[in-house]
Amino acid sequence: MRNVYVLGTGMIKFGRYPEKTVPELGGEAALIALKDAGVTIKDIEMFACGNLYQSNAMVGQRILQQIGQTGIPVINVSNACATGSTAFREAYFSIASGMYDMAMAVGVEQMGKQGLLGGTGGGDPAYSTEGKLGSGLMPAVFGQAGIEHMRKYGTKLEHFAKISVKSHKHATKNPFSQYRNEVTLEDVMNARMVGYPNTLYMCCPTGDGAAAAILVSEDKLKQFAGGRKRPRIAASVLTSDPYTDRDLTLPDVNTLTRRASKLAYEKAGVGPKDIALTELHDCFATAELVHYENLGLCGDGEAGEFIDKKGGCHPDLGGFAPVNVSGGLLSKGHPLGATGVANICEVVWHLTQDERAKDRQIPNAKAGQAHVIGLGSACTINILTI
């Protein structure tokens, strides 16, 4: 496999764009990334487009119909919340394999007012099990992931709440974040309960958004980088949920993340101590806490202590092993298809001292990782190094 680099990135501020279409949002992010890379759509040889809610409607081609119909191969990717990061991985493989030298990945989503609860499905509603045989909705699934940690290690509600306080504080420095308000521990603890133990501020909001990346081979890097240092994709891993005892009843978000993490560290030849920043899938505060351990940022059962010692906080706040300095999904919002590319953009911006991360820059960052979980389940981890 050949080395692959991220030459350019683009992202629009996550928010509400009811006046725009999905291809328009994706096209905007693509154009920013192309400009950032110093190339045009005519240089792109392959395009992987991630979108969930219009996955049957050729979003990738419709983006090219906005920004340049060059006739290149387009793949439309759908992989739950890991949709964007899976599209990124397809672009990565198209170059790593030697097939192409320059590829584009776009993640885009327009959520409208749809919440994170998900859909009800068809059929006679009398046989819908939701609310009658417990809950299979996201707040219950991720609530129970946190409760499982409480059960095993005595983790407290405060630990989850502190994560929300931390990420909201981080977001105040990120102009691309949908929400940039600070919250106190009291605000989080006393907010409306959505699904115990997650209160309102411990659940990510939805939103519309788009992000894009231009990936290149070493040859194209030399041709277009013009002396700029660009990060290498040291590992791009995708796993699905292996059989575990309760997975079919209560989706197991841990085992597939641990497996992806192990594979990614091995492939990249780095360990958690080498990672300057982590963007991980904090759809709920409970999810972030269990992933501290799943990604090896602390030992098993130590996440509570890690949080109490300011683990996950930006060094400017006196923290270490910073997590979600972008504000995370908790503040940025979670446009499903866009999320996986957006968190790679964040990692790139720190590794390249990009001005788009100037107020929250992690100093001297040499390696960073972006993790996503799509329930159902898919896990991606991309490790980038410079």
């Binding site: 609860l117 009800t120 006679d124 509603p125 009398a126 046989y127 099990t129 939701e130 609310g131 009658k132 045989l133 417990g134 809950s135 299979g136 909705l137 707040p139 219950a140 609530g143 129970q144 409760i147 499982e148 409480m150 059960r151 409306r192 309960m193 959505v194 699904g195 115990y196 133990p197 059989y243 005892d245 309760r246 079919l248 009843t249 209560l250």
Partner: protein, 146 residues
């Protein structure tokens, strides 16, 4: 003929096929020769070992189990009454099922979640809806053992 068939078919219906109604309502699973138990009766193979469905035998599951984890649902779709407790219950046969946990105080569980862990529970059934053809639809719930 049509009327007769309808009359014979007018009893309550289980909300899911693995709930068996009758004088002794219980859950029924499929057990693979590798030991894994599944609740979906139409499954074609075992997702643990890969054996095809000819390696499966039906297994009647106990009506008693222990709560593994739970959550309290405060927000749901319109028409679903909240708050309610959703729980994952481990059955002694080695399979977990999900349903509502009733006859417990959700406030108390939120204050002291430890009270929920390993709580011994038993299964009960109740009519939860009427389908489009007018049949009662029966679901199962768990409650603390008396």
């Amino acid at each position: 003929m049509a009327e007769q068939a309808q009359a014979a078919d007018s009893g309550p219906r289980p909300i899911v096929p693995f709930l068996k109604l009758g004088p002794n309502p219980h859950l029924e699973g499929l057990k693979c020769s590798c030991g894994a138990i599944f609740l979906d009766p139409k499954r074609v193979a075992c997702s643990k070992c890969g054996a095809t469905s000819d390696s499966f035998k039906p297994i009647a599951l106990s009506n008693k189990g222990k709560v593994y984890v739970f959550s309290v649902v405060h927000q749901s779709f319109p028409g679903i009454k909240t708050p309610y407790v959703t729980a994952i219950v481990d059955l002694p046969e080695g399979v977990s099922v999900r349903s509502n946990l009733i006859d417990v105080s959700h406030e108390e569980l939120q204050k002291n979640p430890k009270k929920g862990f390993d709580m011994p529970v038993e299964m009960v059934t109740s009519v939860v809806a009427k389908d489009r053809e007018g049949h009662d639809v029966v679901a199962f719930q768990f409650r603390p053992c008396k």
